[in-house]
């Protein structure tokens, strides 16, 4: 009885392993998501912001995906007073993928908006206002799909736009994110 159970377990593990590791991952119906920290460098200001970066992406074909991404401002890595009190940004766009086995290099464009409010220090302690700003962004990245559940990723994004409230600030920024993501094939 014990022997049968052991063999059943071995067979089940083999079946699960086979299912997880052997099938083609990057194809239509693949959904991937991640939540990570993102560092950035503003190109017109001497500030390095960091964000909580979330992403949700669906592959319409092996080469084409649509994605929605959001950044929640966590703080400023540079010395001196913070530039922003609030600096959230949201993007939606498409990416074009070049894939080979588990590797996936992509380039995409993502229009977006920023919801930002300056730190009062920037306005000599006068109250600041929240403003919604149009953004343009393009992304270049690489995913490595370990199996049907996990992948590693690295993404760089260039953002451009201009905050036009209280004190005009150029929002042009280079953002880098990397980490572990989750993926699932939603179709057979």
């Amino acid at each position: 009885m014990g022997k049968t159970l052991r063999w059943s377990l071995v067979l089940m593990l083999y079946a699960v392993g086979h299912e997880v590791f052997s099938q083609e991952i990057i194809r239509a119906g693949l959904i991937r998501a991640q939540l990570t920290l993102s560092a950035s460098q503003m190109l017109s200001e001497n500030h390095s912001n960091f964000y909580l970066h979330g992403n949700f992406e669906g592959y319409l074909t092996k080469r084409l995906s649509l994605s929605g991404e959001g950044y929640h401002y966590l703080g400023d890595l540079s010395t001196g007073a913070e530039l922003f009190k609030v600096n959230e940004s949201f993007f939606f766009g498409a990416s074009w993928h070049l894939t080979k086995r588990s590797s996936d290099v992509y380039i995409g464009i993502q229009p977006g908006i920023a919801v930002a409010r300056l730190n009062e220090i920037q306005t000599n302690n006068r109250p600041t206002h929240q403003a919604t700003t149009p953004l343009f962004s393009s992304v270049v990245g690489y995913n490595y799909f370990v199996n049907r559940i996990f992948h590693f990723f690295i993404q760089t994004r260039i953002v451009s736009g201009q905050h036009l409230d209280d004190v005009p600030i150029n929002l042009t920024e280079l953002r880098i994110s990397a980490g572990l993501g989750f993926n699932i094939n939603s179709t057979k």
């Binding site: 319409l60 084409l64 649509l66 464009i109 908006i113 149009p134 953004l135 343009f136 736009g161 005009p168």
Partner: protein, 210 residues
């Protein structure tokens, strides 16, 4: 010789006609509804340059005619610390003059023209109470091209000139350097060049023509 020339002309005209009208059009594209997002670079003659974010949907009426319904939110930083915000909502008709240029061809050029309603608000950034707004209407025309990356997905690049017919808002600066925003009493025609890059995905067919 004359007869040969005439025959040659007939043959050439038949070949041209065959090339122009006789091509198989492939599966009909009529009725497709597509949805997308866009960024617009607005270059004004008097306002400067600004960036916009927006979206659009398209309804394709025939093989050669498409319609695009769009909304844009554009923000421009004017000199002297004035913010100009534009909201555009409108539609354009896209005409494909080269019927053979469509998917699977990557490049699909088009001509477009249409109408638009727009709302403009100008605000002195350092003194937000100094602000003025107006509604207006506009017409636009231009050229563009789809870059068909798959049968259902395209990236489109378009350049169009939009002329507003409205009471424009002018920023005035007095001798003391104080800024004010004045609405012109008379309608005037002022324009700007809009360069738009958009991504579009054909989601479903509203109707099907066999």
């Amino acid at each position: 010789m004359c007869c040969t020339k005439r025959h040659l002309l007939v043959i050439i005209s038949l070949v041209v006609q065959s090339a122009v009208f006789g091509q198989a059009l492939g599966p009909s594209k009529t009725g497709w509804f597509s949805l997308g997002g866009r960024n617009t670079l607005s270059t004004f003659t008097h306002d400067g340059t600004g960036l916009g974010t927006g979206g659009q949907f398209r309804v394709q009426l025939s093989q050669d005619v498409n319609t695009e319904w769009f909304a844009d939110y554009i923000m421009i930083g004017l000199p002297d610390g004035v913010r100009s915000t534009y909201y555009h909502i409108g539609w354009s008709v896209l005409f494909y003059p080269f019927s053979q240029l469509k998917y699977p061809r990557v490049i699909q050029p088009y001509i477009l023209a249409g109408h638009c309603f727009d709302y403009n608000e100008k605000t002195v950034i350092a003194a937000p109470s100094v602000s003025e707004s107006r509604w207006g209407s506009a017409v636009q025309a231009g050229i563009g091209t789809h870059v068909n990356l798959s049968e259902k997905f395209d990236v489109s690049l378009c350049s169009q000139y939009m002329v507003h017919l409205t009471n424009e808002l002018n920023v005035e600066k007095d001798a003391a350097g104080n800024l004010s925003i004045q609405k012109e009493q008379r309608n005037s025609a002022e324009g700007h060049l809009l360069i738009t890059v958009s991504i579009n995905y054909k989601i479903f067919r509203l109707w099907e023509k066999h």
